[in-house]
């Protein structure tokens, strides 16, 4: 959190922050400068309402805090109070939006949208009316992979969202469970573009949460914001992050973001690049942190702030160069992908063989997704 605030304030990175109650006590959120709160989004994180992980307990409106020993059947009973306090907290704190949270469900029972309405969405919409705020309202939506790739399920989800007159936009989370660090499923990426595009056609604001580099690809569908997370578990949504029963896993290998490669490169390849690839430093862009990290004695560790502040710095720069209109932006992203694939080719020519989490194998699916998305636009007559 501190790094994100420092990056936002000192490095002028990004347009705002997403505040995570899991990681930040309520009193600390309230103490943030008003200038930060006004351009930031508070994500209430009701994903696992029974969770007592991290700092969630410091929020009196969090369901498990409100009701000790919370059972799922209690949700509807307590939600009216939770919703009103949560909305009031966001309004009083002067955040940019009022965010309606959502629950995470492992499976999708046939009535789950109705369940969400009854347990969370309707009580929150009531609370927004009761509090009388004029702040725009974002509805948190987790789209599971099947809802992203299957056109019928996608339409059902979009119909549900666009049927809500009282919301101004969506805090969209595209869940893609995978074993690789990057999304390599062209159908999923194309489906994500179609969802963002459909929401924009319906005049809704779209903030896409929990992105890795695919945030750049998503930008061609015109979202209002793409969130960039620092740690790996903030660059891909997983409910495990909120789960107290989760077994502690080994820290990930440190990685450094390369804007030219559109990839996070594991530190195990940095020294090989230094030895074999002329001009290797330029692959990583320029930030105030590179000179320290490129020292041969730099102690790589996945918790070093320099890795993430560098990422924020160069990725933010990359996003700011994205062009308008969207057709021009797509050409620009296509060129970025072509250039990155060209760099990966020269890296292999130089005798460097990164594995599937540091190579360019996620980029051909970006091309496939853009082709699929273009066909979709053509079918819509756009």
């Amino acid at each position: 959190m501190r790094w994100n605030i420092d990056s936002f304030q000192s490095d002028q990175v990004g347009d705002g922050l997403i505040i995570s109650p899991l990681n930040c006590k309520a009193e600390r959120v309230e103490a943030l400068p008003v200038g930060i709160r006004r351009c930031s989004i508070f994500d209430p994180q009701f994903y696992l309402p029974k969770s007592q992980k991290g700092k969630l307990a410091t929020y009196p409106f969090f369901p498990a805090t409100r009701c000790e020993g919370l059972a799922t059947s209690d949700l509807e009973k307590i939600m009216e109070h939770c919703a009103e306090e949560c909305v009031r907290f966001q309004v009083d704190s002067d955040f940019e939006y009022v965010v309606i949270p959502t629950r995470y469900l492992d499976a999708l029972p046939s009535n789950y949208l109705q369940q969400l309405d009854e347990q969370i969405v309707n009580p929150f919409l009531e609370a927004v009316r009761a509090v009388g705020s004029d702040k725009p309202v974002l509805l948190t939506v987790i789209a599971k992979a099947i809802q992203v790739t299957d056109s019928d399920q996608r339409d059902a989800l979009l119909n549900w969202i666009t049927g809500k007159d009282d919301i101004d936009g969506v805090y969209l989370i595209l869940e893609n469970a995978r074993l690789t660090k990057q999304i390599k499923d062209a159908d999923f990426l194309a489906g994500a573009l179609k969802i963002i595009h459909a929401l924009k056609l319906n005049d809704l604001r779209v903030v896409v949460g929990y992105n890795s580099t695919e945030g750049i690809l998503y930008s061609i569908a015109g979202p209002d914001a793409v969130a960039m997370g620092c740690f790996e578990n903030l660059r891909a949504f997983s409910s495990r992050r909120f789960d107290t029963t989760r077994i502690h896993s080994r820290s990930p290998q440190p990685r450094l973001y390369s804007p030219k490669l559109l990839q996070w490169i594991e530190y195990a390849y940095i020294e090989a690049l230094r030895e074999r690839y002329s001009g290797w430093e330029s692959l990583f862009g320029e930030s105030p942190y590179t000179s320290l990290m490129f020292r041969p004695d730099f102690a790589w560790n996945s918790r070093r702030p320099e890795l993430y502040r560098h990422y924020f710095f160069v990725f933010s720069d990359q996003v700011r160069t994205l062009a308008d209109p969207l057709s021009e932006r797509q050409r620009q992203v296509e060129a970025m992908v072509d250039e990155a694939l060209g760099f990966f080719d020269t890296i292999q020519q130089a005798g460097i063989y990164p594995d599937e989490d540091s190579d360019g194998s996620h980029l051909p699916p970006w091309i496939g997704a853009m082709e699929n998305y273009n066909r979709h636009l053509k079918e819509l007559g756009l």
């Binding site: 195990a268 940095i270 020294e271 030895e275 005798g351 063989y353 990164p354 594995d355």
Partner: protein, 188 residues
Amino acid sequence: MSFRTEDEMSSRFLEALVPKIERLGAWYLREIDSGIGIPDYLLVITSGRAISYIVGVELKLRNWRRGLLQAFRYRNFTNEAYVVIDRDHIEPALANRQHFLRAGIGLASFDEGGVFEIHVVASPGKPFSKLLAERITVRVSEALSDFDWDPEMTSYEFVRTNSRRRSLIGFREYLAKDALSTFEAIKV
């Protein structure tokens, strides 16, 4: 006949090559966690009470590409690295030998009869990463201390000793009787 599992291949590999490795005066260490991967074997040459040379070995039944990617990572903390593939499945790897040559990673085959052949000789060099080489040195030293080996140096020194060239030739001579001729034939 092919090996059925990597464990079977590994056991046979040890039976066939340990005597040669021991004659060379080298140590072999199985599955030492480097922090970025676990090589099937590390062959370690010591010079006095210092580590002077490390070779990483990755055994694969057939997946040459996976082996190449793993062995390439081992070059962060070894002087050379080899992929050893079941001889019955070596052809696809040989058809892609240019990748091994380009990466400087050695390619060898091994069969149930204990025949070991080096097809591409690894390019020797300092480990890519000082940090990871220092880390493996500590772990290797700890492992060797179980054999009453008392390390003098637990740092990056093994890449700087003068015994490197002698050790390298020794490995080729001992591990495969025709390794040097293979080496000359492909003119690396």
